[in-house]
């Protein structure tokens, strides 16, 4: 049901521009919605991150995944248990760019009276494939926004189409994108535990991405739209001088609309993991709390049980046990430590 809800939502989102964009709504789908979505994305993203950043981090709760700095001759793991800002920076680089923690993933099963563990990197691989393909595809799109096409885009395109399969040449990242997204979707449906915990919020972005990729691929390989007018629109949008040329196909508006939905939805969703990972206290803090004091800005005094109160309650038994006293109203004032 949650899957169905997400699927229907995305199908409706596809249908709207596909059916209506041709009815003289070019300005709406080509200019107003993209601008609105971009504004929501930028504003939403910035506000969300600023809100997170404003919340204090009261304690340094680093998760250590390796030997800490201690005695000088003990070999330590600076990237798993960073001791200073620089090492923490590199830990974060590994985490953000290479999904270090996910790479650790294991799979376990009960068999023959034992719990067995195996290494599994499929989720990691699918994650890497999806994220990096998406990034390259995004960068390839720069050629539509600016004239002349920057050099790095040509390089990217050449590498991406290195194998020169088909005409137009097949981009590898297009394949990787679908493999990645497809795996993420299939495992969510096939693995009973993952299906059990999945929400509509988990399926929705996957369907949306498939829709975006699908319309894009369709336009590139199968159903040519008028690329000149599309570029005219895109360049206009990016130079803040928008104009909607004639002859843009509704399929392109559908593509653009889904992208708009994705970026507008982004700041309100789990997709914010993109920003959140930078602010995760278990990862972005050095493991040095015994060496460098961390301050809690909202710290407040609490009720404690002082030694005085303690001695007042237990003075008699303490005295009988030969324990030294700080105050001995009935005694001779002499106090002696017990020594064995």
């Amino acid at each position: 049901m949650r899957l169905g809800f997400a699927l229907i939502a995305v199908l409706i989102l596809i249908a709207i521009p596909l059916l209506t964009a041709g009815m003289g709504l070019g300005l709406v789908f080509g200019v107003i919605i993209p601008y609105l979505a971009l504004a929501m994305f930028i504003f939403g993203f910035v506000v969300k991150v600023l809100r997170w950043a404003r919340i204090p981090v009261p304690f340094r709760i680093t998760t250590t995944a390796g030997q800490a700095k201690s005695l000088p001759w003990i070999k330590r793991a600076p990237l798993e248990s960073p001791y200073n800002g620089w090492e923490t920076f590199w830990r974060m680089v590994l985490e953000v760019l290479f999904f270090r923690s996910l790479f650790r993933n294991t799979v376990s099963e009960l068999k023959g009276g034992r719990v067995l563990y195996g290494s599994t990197q499929w989720l990691w691989l699918a994650g890497i494939l999806f994220h990096y393909s998406f990034l390259v595809i995004l960068l390839r799109h720069v050629k539509y926004f600016v004239t002349p096409t920057p050099g790095f885009v040509n390089v990217l395109q050449n590498v991406d189409g290195f194998f020169q399969i088909g005409l137009p040449i097949l981009y590898l990242t297009d394949v990787f994108f679908f493999v990645g997204v497809g795996y993420l979707f299939v495992r969510r449906v096939v693995m009973p535990q993952i299906r059990y915990l999945s929400l509509a919020n988990d399926y929705f972005p996957l369907f949306l991405l498939m829709g975006i990729g699908g319309t894009g691929v369709w336009m590139r390989y199968f159903y040519k739209v008028d690329i000149v007018s599309v570029k005219e629109l895109a360049v206009g949008l990016f130079s803040l001088n928008p104009a909607v040329p004639e002859g843009i196909d509704p399929l392109f508006f559908t593509h653009l609309f889904l992208v708009s939905v994705l970026i507008a939805y982004f700041p309100f969703s789990k997709l914010m993991h993109m920003g959140g990972i930078f602010l995760s206290p278990t990862r972005n803090m050095p493991n040095n709390t015994r060496a460098v004091r961390h301050v809690n800005p909202w710290d407040y005094p609490v009720k404690v049980h002082t030694y005085q109160e303690y001695e007042d309650e237990f003075r008699t038994v303490m005295k009988a046990a030969g324990l030294p006293l700080d105050a001995d109203p009935e005694g001779d004032g002499k106090s002696e430590a017990t020594n064995g």
Binding site: G66, K69, Y117
Partner: protein, 557 residues
């Protein structure tokens, strides 16, 4: 209940999730799930700590006698904490439910209950967060993953946030570092505001507040235990042991978890400390006021953690010591390492810890000024400051269980291994997915080590038990070493259940056995009174390496 529990039965874990969605499984049946939850905190212990909404109640009762405005209290408490803890807010917002954490939890592995997957445990809180604090949750309701906080949801909170030992294993594997311990800690402190909590957390906390230790041992009791232990150490070694308690002007104050005073097998670790500190002539004192290393406040609320932790520095200042040495304990070191420096004002009255024996300055503890006894001992061993005869541990074939908190909240991995290798000829690691940062919890941490919770403890102990059984089969391991008082208290039951015939011992017990003390008599038995076999001294010395080789060969074959 223990009679009914059988490993064969518990091993058949069914991982298939129920037909009904996780929000629709209905209220927890606390009668049917006996053995999987803990009794409620007693009114006396709650009153002693000035906690709100004190009443006599038990989880199996239908009516939990909640305050009328409990939903408002919870909402306000949640709101406050979202503004206080970036961790909480970020972890509520960014989980993508990839499920990488799912089979990393010992309770999930042992129970198959989907709400024991860390992701779903956190979703119990996240669903309420989406309902109360997000636009999407408000608009899309249940379809947006939102859930209203009602009695059924609250009962699930109580059930599942007391089926988490805050071990943080999931947090190692999470691509965003989401820390379930952080979520569990905050869920628990929210429930305390409604007067909901468990006795095995609150009574130790109240005891600790009053007497200085979780067990409620009064000052003369601490003295008695230590005197008894000193007598025994003297009897074993023939050496008069130097020690002191509540002594002003000592150089170092030593704090151990209170179970070490007389629980078994903790007690043998205590003997080890006493012998080691005597042998090196350490100028140190025990203390009755801060006679607890552990801090059940960590399992209670941030505030309670601070209330209990305060004693360490207050006592160190009163006694005028230079620095603090801490004993073998797990969660104690999470608090000391990651929280104490922040909870308390700077300890300027102390000095940067420096070993009086080796001169090593513990740079890593220069602010908090508290050193782990394994760091201290590893340093002594590295500088050859103590004489050890590892053959005295030849009857032990050891493996080492990293405790969750020193492993994942501190990174203390090699120091205990250095000590063990110096003290024992026979040491075999468990499989790599079950040690170091991937270590598995004993299943009884965070206040869950009760009799009434025995079934869940044994379920949670499965991964650890299975790993021990593996090295037992491979190398005839007969003792599981560890450095945590909760481990020592609860792993024996886990071993009896999942890896029968395995003893549990502290690392400093191994030091105590191996330590050659000045003026000692002939040692014919180990600290447990097990007599050593009578052997020709030459053969005795040659034996260990030969045996180790055989072990290696066996492993290779």
């Amino acid at each position: 209940m223990a009679d009914k529990l059988k490993p064969e039965a518990l091993f058949n874990v069914d991982y298939s999730p129920p037909k009904k969605g996780w929000m629709d499984t209905g209220p927890i049946d606390f009668e049917a799930t006996r053995g999987n939850w803990n009794f409620a905190a007693t009114p006396e212990s709650m009153e002693y700590l000035d906690l709100p909404n004190v009443r006599k109640w038990q989880p199996y009762e239908q009516d939990w006698q909640l305050p009328d405005d409990w939903q408002r209290i919870l909402f306000e408490g949640f709101k406050t904490r979202l503004k206080r803890f970036r961790s909480l807010k970020v972890y509520m917002d960014i989980c993508v439910r990839c499920g990488a954490c799912a089979d990393k939890c010992h309770f999930y592995l042992g129970s198959g209950d989907p709400k024991n997957m860390p992701v779903l445990r956190a979703e119990l809180m996240r669903a309420v967060y989406r309902n109360d604090f997000t636009l999407f949750g408000k608009v899309f309701g249940k379809m947006g993953g939102a859930r209203k906080m009602d009695i059924a949801a609250l009962k699930e909170w109580f059930y599942y946030f007391y089926q988490c030992t805050e071990c943080r294993r999931c947090s190692v594997f999470c691509p965003y570092g989401i820390d379930t311990a952080e979520i569990t800690m905050i869920a628990r402190e929210l429930m305390w505001e409604l007067g909901l909590g468990i006795d095995w957390v609150n009574t130790p906390a109240a005891n600790c507040f009053r007497t200085g230790n979780h067990l409620g041992i009064q000052p003369h009791g601490v003295v008695d235990s230590l005197e008894f232990a000193v007598d025994e150490a003297e009897e074993i070694t023939g050496v008069k042991i130097d020690w002191s308690i509540n002594r002003k002007g000592a150089e170092i104050m030593f704090i151990a978890p209170s179970a070490d005073y007389f629980a078994s097998p903790h007690y043998y670790t205590l003997l080890g400390y006493l012998m080691l500190f005597h042998e090196i002539g350490l100028d140190y004192t025990w203390t009755t006021y801060a006679s607890e290393g552990g801090n059940f406040g960590l399992f209670h609320s941030h505030e309670m953690m601070k209330r209990l932790n305060s004693k360490m520095y207050m006592e160190a200042e009163r006694l005028g010591v230079k620095w603090i040495l801490g004993g073998e304990c797990g969660h104690m070191w999470r608090v000391v390492h990651q929280y104490m420096g922040t909870l308390q004002e700077p300890a300027d009255f102390l000095e940067v810890p420096k070993s009086p024996i080796t001169g090593t300055v513990f740079e890593n503890a220069k602010s908090t000024k508290m050193v782990h006894v394994a760091e201290f001992a590893a340093d002594l061993i590295h500088h050859n400051k103590i004489k050890l005869d590892p053959t005295r541990n030849d009857h032990w074939i050891t493996t080492y269980h990293d405790s969750c908190n020193p492993a994942r909240g501190m990174g203390l991995l090699e120091e205990p291994r250095e000590v063990i290798k110096a003290c024992c000829n026979n040491f075999h690691e468990m499989p790599e997915n079950t040690i170091r940062e991937q270590t598995f919890c004993c299943g009884s941490g965070a206040g869950l080590g009760t009799e009434e919770n025995l079934e869940m403890r044994m379920r949670g102990g499965l991964p650890r038990g299975s790993a021990v059984q593996y090295v037992k089969d491979q190398h005839d391991v007969n003792v599981l070493l560890c450095m945590c008082a909760i481990d020592k208290a609860t792993l024996p039951a886990v071993m009896d259940f999942w890896a029968p015939g395995t003893e549990v011992a502290g690392v400093h017990e191994m030091i105590g056995n191996a330590l050659i003390m000045t003026g000692e008599k002939h040692r014919d038995a180990d600290l447990r009174g097990e007599e050593y076999p009578i052997v020709d001294s030459q053969a005795h010395l040659a034996a260990p390496s030969g045996e180790a080789e055989t072990q290696e060969e066996k492993a290779n074959a």
